[in-house]
């Protein structure tokens, strides 16, 4: 009977070892090799001393922060208003639907919209402003990245708001709070778990976007992700790529710790 149960576990354990543990160890291992396959700390030295890598890391964090912030600012009210609509399920599906469209296609659409003769510029000239270079700017990169991440922020916030016990809101009104006080003191604090998982779901991928930086950002924005892709697939300097990867993993772990669910004593079951 015991053996039988262990049998279920064999393929899963194989997966755990081969595709979870081994790759992480390998990426750390690889980071100690320079381009000539020598075992060395050279990559880490370069990372800290050259300045470009540190600047790129900071840049990457800054952009990821901006993307997360804009996404949050747009998504929170949307999620909040969604919980107030009739036919919530339908609206929610409409939010999810765009995430089923391949990311590449959406990015591709913006190439058309933001191009020199594209819709955005046509609209600007209609308003009496001369056509601008929109594509391949930081702003266009931020816009498209925010656009793509919005549904991933809305969903967790919406779920957190939906789980909120409606009698808590009644209780707040009953105790004399008006709508704003109820929102600030009851609704918002209780939806923070959703905000946190939304931030998690947006911030980490934003650090590593590389496809958008190329298609929309026109290589002006270099994120950690772009650098890794560059080192692995273009310059074939896997060691340096892995070193950046190690820092990306560290950044990911830090983000998880910061936004992670602290086992709070007050949490209700």
């Amino acid at each position: 009977m015991k053996q039988n149960k262990a049998l279920y576990f064999v393929p899963y354990t194989f997966w755990l070892i081969l595709f979870v543990i081994a790759p992480i160890l390998l990426i750390i291992y690889q980071s100690f090799f320079n381009i000539h396959d020598d075992f060395t700390l050279e990559n880490y030295q370069t990372y800290f001393q050259s300045g470009t890598y540190l600047k790129m890391t900071l840049n990457s964090f800054w952009y990821a922060f901006l993307i997360t912030l804009f996404t949050l600012l747009i998504s929170y009210p949307t999620a909040y208003l969604l919980t107030k609509t009739k036919h919530k399920q339908l609206w929610l599906l409409l939010i999810i639907l765009p995430t089923w469209i391949n990311l590449l296609l959406k990015a591709y659409a913006f190439i058309g919209i933001f191009s020199m003769n594209g819709t955005a510029n046509q609209f600007l000239s209609f308003m009496g402003i001369a056509p601008q270079q929109i594509l391949f700017t930081d702003a266009s990169f931020l816009f498209v990245a925010t656009y793509i991440e919005i549904p991933f922020m809305i969903l967790p916030i919406y779920n957190a708001l939906e789980e909120l016990n409606p009698s808590l809101i009644s209780a707040s009104y009953d105790l004399g709070a008006n709508s704003w006080q109820t929102f600030r003191r009851v609704v918002f604090p209780l939806s923070l778990t959703g905000v946190k998982s939304g931030v998690q779901a947006v911030f980490i991928p934003s650090l590593s976007l590389f496809m958008l930086t190329r298609l929309i950002g026109g290589n002006r924005v270099i994120t950690l992700g772009t650098a890794i892709e560059q080192h692995f697939l273009v310059t074939e300097n896997w060691g340096m790529g892995s070193t950046i990867g190690v820092f990306l993993i560290i950044a990911m772990v830090l983000t998880m710790l910061l936004t992670g669910e602290k086992k709070k004593k007050g949490a209700i079951r």
């Binding site: 919209i113 496809m211 298609l215 692995f232 990911m252």
Partner: protein, 277 residues
């Protein structure tokens, strides 16, 4: 006053929805553009749709993509479901939590890290890049989502059901096939569905491990888009959008149907209570 406020909030929602859908509708609109560009619409044509269906390379890539998605999600569902059952029956809390943390590593890792580390691994063991490496990678990153979908259903399951089945003489295999699997089926289906969409959607991981000979739709679109606008891609995205729409609408109506059934039975119960008075 209250009514006015309500209208403003609706306006905001509508604005967000327009922004979300505008690019997609924009793509579809220009897929019918005779002019061949994505800015000035000169006339209606089916030309690009015909081109999509005539493009043998594109068709074979679409089929490849679907094949990878179907196979990887099926295998990931099997491995993931068995893994979830295994995790569920781990007695020690500590071990279970550790297992779950490892399970979730691939859920939170950025695509680039997954792609790069898989690339290192495949090269390390001397595995040839191509269909097999893509398939294995897709299975690998789909397993954790299946586990996450199945595990709650296992936890919801009433444990005395299994004791009862044992008591009635069922052996391990019968318990698994007659009790456990039927009660977690919704979780398994959801897991399969999610794995399928993950696979269809993936670009970054595939991009790293695909090598030269093999391509999926995402990778193909990326390389075409880097060369500029081609309305064939627009036509393709219109078809894919339609496909997604049908799935979503179908899903919605199935859900609505299930819900009304539930509501109806609840109403019947209420009527019974009233009758009793």
């Amino acid at each position: 006053m209250g009514q006015k406020k309500f209208k403003w909030s609706n306006l905001y929602l509508i604005f967000v929805f327009i922004v979300l859908y505008l690019p997609i509708l924009y793509l579809i609109f220009y897929s019918f553009n005779e002019g061949g560009t994505m800015n000035s619409f000169t006339g209606f044509t089916w030309e690009y749709y015909q081109a999509v269906f005539a493009d043998k390379r594109l068709i074979s890539i679409v089929l490849n993509t679907l094949l990878v998605a179907l196979l990887s999600s099926l295998l990931a569902t099997i491995i993931g479901t068995l893994g979830a059952i295994g995790i569920h029956y781990v007695k020690k809390r500590q071990t279970r939590n550790t297992l779950m943390s490892f399970n979730n590593v691939l859920m939170v890792s950025p695509d680039v890290i997954i792609g790069a580390s898989f690339l290192i691994m495949f090269t390390f063991v001397g595995f040839k890049l191509g269909f097999a490496s893509v398939l294995l990678s897709h299975i690998a990153f789909s397993i954790p989502i299946v586990v996450l979908m199945v595990l709650p259903k296992l936890q919801e399951m009433n444990p005395s059901m299994i004791t009862a089945a044992r008591d009635l003489g069922a052996n391990n295999l019968q318990v698994l096939s007659k009790i456990i699997l039927p009660s977690i089926t919704p979780g398994i289906l959801a897991g399969y569905f999610m794995a399928f969409t993950y696979s269809l959607d993936d670009f970054a991981v595939t991009f790293f491990v695909t090598g030269n000979g093999f391509s999926t739709l995402s990778v193909e679109i990326y390389s075409r888009a880097r060369q500029g606008v081609s309305l064939e891609i627009n036509a393709l995205s219109a078809i894919m959008f339609l496909f997604a729409l049908i799935l979503v609408v179908g899903y919605y109506f199935i859900q609505q149907y299930n819900m009304t059934k539930k509501q109806k039975s609840r109403e019947r119960e209420r009527a019974k209570v009233v009758d009793l008075l």
